[in-house]
């Protein structure tokens, strides 16, 4: 697989398709299952063309039942396959929750390693696309809290391409979050990249270096975070943006190195804050870097509400302004909460 790099501009959607294709070509135990993924190519067209290429035996349109999809994937994994499951939208993963939490996550532990569950659960994810109810959910914290699963979220086409292949090749189950909001965003993808050489999916990435504040984001919020960093630069503030990539396990080495340098930390995500990924990152980093912290770490998250109607979502998904307000907070500059009791 190794060779010279071949950078190709691709949307994240097409990069995912390429990642699936290459995983399927490499290993004939890989198969894909989900609703509408065959003839239609999925509602987001991520599996477009794959049924023609690999046949209906490996690209399987299933009955409309998420527990059924994940439960049969468990059986296929028992038989030695590597199922890649597509959940049509984030909000439809809950009927499969029992199979994911009690079976997918626990079978390796239950059988003391005798049975492996190399299942990848792809979830088109999160908001900002003006969708109907249940089509903009951010359920990642549920899976991060579930031992036995690995959880990753991609933020650019190249990672989408490589990390999807790594997830599929991984012998553990991986919940793979794909930000819908970025499906049509283009970036350079090295289609010749050997996934063994690519950055392991467990590592965080410093997306932009900085010295004053560490800003941690994942998925589509990485873009917002980079925008915020650029805006802050005009104000003379240097923000280090970290793309978390792996939500579980977390690459605390990269995170704490950054916070030790900056002394200040902000986490942003779309999911509500309460017992979310941001809480985890802050609790752990506070433990690891307590004496380096010059201000309390701050979360900039969605409100703790059900995902709101589309016309109100811009007041829910954290934007550049809300991040910059948090930057002011950690730098002890005037900010929206200056007069509010915490």
């Amino acid at each position: 697989m190794a060779g010279q790099s071949a950078l190709t501009p691709l949307t994240m959607g097409k990069a995912l398709t390429a990642g699936l294709r290459s995983a399927m070509a490499r290993d004939d135990r890989v198969l894909i299952m989900g609703e509408d993924i065959g003839r239609l190519g999925g509602v987001f067209r991520i599996t477009d063309g794959l049924q023609d290429e690999f046949g209906a035996g490996r690209v399987i349109d299933t009955p409309l039942a998420e527990s059924g999809i994940v439960g049969t994937a468990v059986g296929l994994a028992y038989r030695g396959f590597r199922p890649v499951v597509e959940i049509q939208f984030d909000g439809f993963v809950y009927p499969a929750f029992d199979q994911i939490v009690c079976q997918v996550a626990k079978l390796h532990y239950r059988t003391r390693g005798q049975v492996r569950m190399p299942i990848t659960i792809r979830i088109p994810w999160a908001g900002g696309v003006g969708a109907a109810e249940h089509h903009s959910e951010s359920p990642e914290a549920y899976f991060v809290h579930t031992a036995g699963l690995r959880v990753v979220a991609v933020a650019n086409p190249h990672d989408a391409y490589t990390m999807l292949q790594q997830a599929i090749a991984c012998d553990d189950p991986v919940v793979f979050f794909e930000p819908k909001r970025l499906y049509h965003t283009k970036g350079e993808v090295d289609l010749a990249a050997d996934i063994a050489d690519a950055a392991p999916m467990g590592l965080a990435r410093v997306a932009r270096e900085g010295t004053d504040v560490t800003l941690v984001a994942y998925g589509a919020q990485v873009t917002t975070a980079l925008d915020a960093a650029m805006a802050a630069e005009d104000d003379g503030i240097s923000i280090e943006v970290i793309d978390l990539r792996s939500l579980s396990p977390v690459d605390y080495r990269t995170l704490s190195a950054s916070v030790r340098k900056t002394g200040r930390m902000i986490v942003t995500h779309e999911a509500g804050g309460e017992a979310g990924v941001g809480a985890e990152l802050i609790a752990s980093i506070t433990e690891q870097c307590f004496h380096h912290l010059e201000a309390a770490p701050v979360r900039v998250t969605g409100h703790d509400i059900p995902y709101p109607p589309a016309k109100l979502e811009k007041h829910h998904v954290p934007d550049l302004d809300r991040i910059l307000d948090a930057v002011d907070r950690v730098l002890d500059r005037p900010n929206s909460l200056s007069e509010v009791a915490l």
Binding site: G38, L40, P63, L64, G68, F92, A131, H303, D304, P309
Partner: protein, 372 residues
Amino acid sequence: MMHTLTTDPTHAADLDTVAQLLTPTGDRVSDPRLDRWADELEAAALRALYRDMAITRRLDGEGVALQRQGHLGLWAPAQGQEAIQVASSHACRPDDFLFPSYRELGVLVTRGASPADLVLGWRGEVHGTFDPYALHVATPQIIIGAQTLHAVGYAMGIQRDGGDQVSVAYFGDGATSQGDVNEAMVFASSFEAPVVFVCSNNQWAISEPVSVQSRFPIAGRAPAFGIPSLRVDGNDAIACAAAMRWALDRARSGEGPAFIEAVTYRMGPHTTSDDPTRYRDAAEVERWRGRDPLTRLEAHLRRSGAWDDAFAAEVAAAGATLAAGMRDAALTAQTRPAIEVLDDVYAEPHVGMTRQRERFAAYLDGFADGEA
């Protein structure tokens, strides 16, 4: 005792096995089991059915247009399914409680939802529009199949109140694969709850033909749970009405749940985001156009002398007025202020919400124009 297939193992889409009272050309035919439930339907009732079906068709077109023009985020067309939607809800009493999916426009029209109610959800202004207790209709459900359990629970409540209402669960062919729909039948049967299941088998679940969900007629599912079922031509308004009257009567008189599979067709895309040319033949759509529920009922009304131009004009006018109302509601919609994103999460005071509200209000205050 060997059990073999209990329903004819013909493909669920095979029209020949459905109960019919109107042929595709509008001839009134007989069905020994349904006649009794159709005979009482007077001309006035059939005209009322036609009226709401035609209005539903008109408003559905308006919804699609509004979406195409950018005034709505999405629309799930009901075209082709007006007969079962309207006839089934017409057969209900006002105090029967209906649990629709996202596609039951005809149910909402029958129940008198306002034009604004029909568009503000799809526009993304609110999740739910009307007050469920005003229309006796639950907020349309997006999670496939979830509402069937709600309908059964509601029916268990009716039993406990000693009421004689019925609850109705609407869902599609795809939904029958979901665990929830099967559990709903288990519970309904176990408690003999007064609930009617109405499955609109429109042949497709987005791009998946019904054969992916079921290689045999869906109506055969219910009897296995102890629920009698009827497979009816879902484009035949009279048969749909009769079937629903049979089912409601059973449920209302304490005989327990009933199940109707209405064999129909989704003429449009799954939603305005969908492109059905990727997965189905134009010829199939054309075939079904020949079984259009409106044309068919119109032919029958004409033949039986229950049609006149004044009626046609009145129906068209009523549709146009409501359609204009939809347009107006969509175009004049006022998005709620930012802070209201936090409203109604809890019914009672909640210290976490208070804290969030205080913080978000302070944040919004920082913007001169009050808008973040």
